[in-house]
Amino acid sequence: MSKARLMQGNEACVEGALAAGVRFFGGYPITPSTEVAEGMAKLLPTVGGKFVQMEDEIASMGVVLGASLAGKKAVTASSGPGISLKQELIGYAAAAEIPVVIVNVQRVGPSTGQPTAPSQGDVMQARWGTHGDHPMIALSPWSVREAFDTAVMAVNYSERFRTPVILLMDEIVGHLREKVELPEASAIEIYPRRKPSCTRAEGYEPFTPDKDLVPNTANFGEGYHIHVTGLIHDDTGFPIGSPKITREVTKRLHDKIEIARDEITHVEEYFMDDAEYAVIAFGGTARTAYEAVANARKKGVKVGMVRLITIWPFADKAVKKIAEKVKGILVAELNYGQLVGEVERVVAGKCPVELCAKYDMTIFEPAEIEAGIDELVAGGKA
């Protein structure tokens, strides 16, 4: 008997999170992410976990951080306005190095925008939404199965790097129904909660970095009497008004992600072997871009597609390599033009970069991206 199931992207995200060991969810309903909360409410108690519907998205972010500090892997989910509300505490998680996953099923903004309509307008918010300097990891799936896989990956990265990770979904994938076969539990690699490397008596400090620059912070209740704060703190966890510590901590927070960048920057290429042009896309838009590229190939255009799964940190290396190889790049995104700026930064004039943007609450038609490819091949917009 086939284990295939018909499932929505949002549901697959729930399954992935649970498979990765998530046992706590706090959230507040908002379209198009609500099915994540509903799925969690239904499934978490079946595995002994807990779901709590909070009074708003700020509280939802706070409650999952509390749960994570007490030792449970924790997730929250929202869209648009709710993600905006979470920003202060996303920064708290980055500063206090608390593992947590924030699912953002993007919708049209700003403000209430177009509540149920698809968008990819939160690319830059995912990177810079909270104040101050901080690193960010964001992953974007293009299929229901990949919603499961990236949810597992997001939980694992949050634990490994002790940092907030954003699962940057979009309405297209969140509400897409596909037949999927999920992997057996035994086939899923889980990154366990990091453990303190010594006892209190041996001089344990909760924020002393390990070799990978990530601290092995104890959970609450384990007898370590740790102090956690959003103030800049030294390895002891206590605030300190020192320029040297401020500089070192800020740098380490970035470096712990930077030194693992190649490993966590996932990119997939299609039809790229002999490609003279490339389309860069991600998430739900990559599905349309794929079809557009396949159609263009049928017409004899040597075009390929590069799909970013990891949005942040940005795939500098992969994009640079492509820029050296092709005659032009088209960035297709469902917004006014966000990722294109990163592509231009990395390409740095090595080849023309064109934007295929759409921001009218509807998804791309393959023909629209094909037209963008034609223009790119013809040498830019008329």
Partner: protein, 274 residues
């Protein structure tokens, strides 16, 4: 000789950063004495605070401690308690932290009846940011953002907590330390959302603006105006002047706490042995 409560403080973090005469230290000590009285396991007790002068107390207390963001202590504490119900969770918050920016979390914490003990350090002002009006600054009192006297009506946080569903509600002051300790200890006993308002003095940001710069005078004001609940209930209305206020245990009802209720959900869903 070491005094018995000293083991609850991180001696290497003292002296504290509070102004001379500040009431925060008195309330902080009342909390640890309540913890001692109730014999809570120091390794299984978590102190969670928001942001403000009062919320800096968590850093001085030798437990697992969490200094959260302004107004958000109750959601963090809720997550800790639900994730690990064997932990005793005590929340330290200020009048601005709890009833302004954190007001929504406060009423919903009360409603959910999560087993937390919330101690509100009420100094009637935003101390940390230098004396702006809070929702608990009494009408007509002065603040840097109410230089002609506050026209806002102030919250009675105890009545708010009771109406919102807290299952233990009490008030005391920094002058009545033993009573305050008892009120907090009673809150620890209550398995549910316990709220204790601790009236305390901020001579620097509130006192100076309101002709009470002397901390001792502020405490004498507490002595002279606080009325034990039993006496308050018998007081004729014309004696309940604007300055007078009741202290004591106002409300205590046993109701199922959130974690216990959720355990039933887990039973029904079949996840109990997972």
């Amino acid at each position: 000789m070491e005094r018995s409560f000293e083991k609850y403080f991180r001696q290497n973090r003292l002296p504290h950063l509070w102004c001379p005469g500040c009431g925060n230290g008195i309330v902080m000590k009342a909390i640890v004495q309540a913890i001692e009285k109730k014999g809570l396991d120091q390794d299984k007790t978590v102190i969670v605070s928001g942001i403000g002068c009062s919320s800096r107390a968590s850093g001085y207390m030798d437990f697992d401690t969490l200094h959260t963001a302004h107004g958000r202590a109750i959601p963090f504490a809720t997550g800790i308690k639900l994730a690990n119900p064997e932990l005793n969770v005590i929340v330290i918050t200020g009048d601005g932290d709890c009833t302004a920016i954190g007001g929504n979390h406060f009423i919903h914490g009360c409603r959910r009846n999560v087993d937390l003990t919330v101690v509100l350090f009420n100094n009637s002002i935003y101390g940390m940011t230098g004396g702006q009006a809070s929702p608990m600054t009494p009408t007509h009192k002065k603040a840097t953002t109410a230089p002609y006297g506050a026209i806002d009506r102030n919250f009675d946080a105890c009545r708010l907590a009771e109406a919102a569903g807290a299952t233990y509600v009490a008030r005391s002051t920094a002058f009545h330390v033993q009573h305050l300790t008892d009120m907090i200890a009673g809150g620890i006993d209550n398995k549910g959302f316990s709220f204790v308002e601790a009236i305390c003095q901020c001579p620097t940001s509130f006192g100076r603006k309101n002709k009470m710069a002397d901390p001792a005078k502020m405490m004498m004001w507490m002595r002279d105006n606080a009325v034990m609940k039993a006496a308050w209930d018998k007081l004729p209305d014309d004696k309940k002047t604007e300055e007078k206020f009741p202290i004591g245990l106002f409300y205590n009802e046993s109701e199922t706490d959130y974690a216990t209720a959720y355990n039933e959900v887990i039973q029904i869903a079949g996840g109990a042995d997972k």
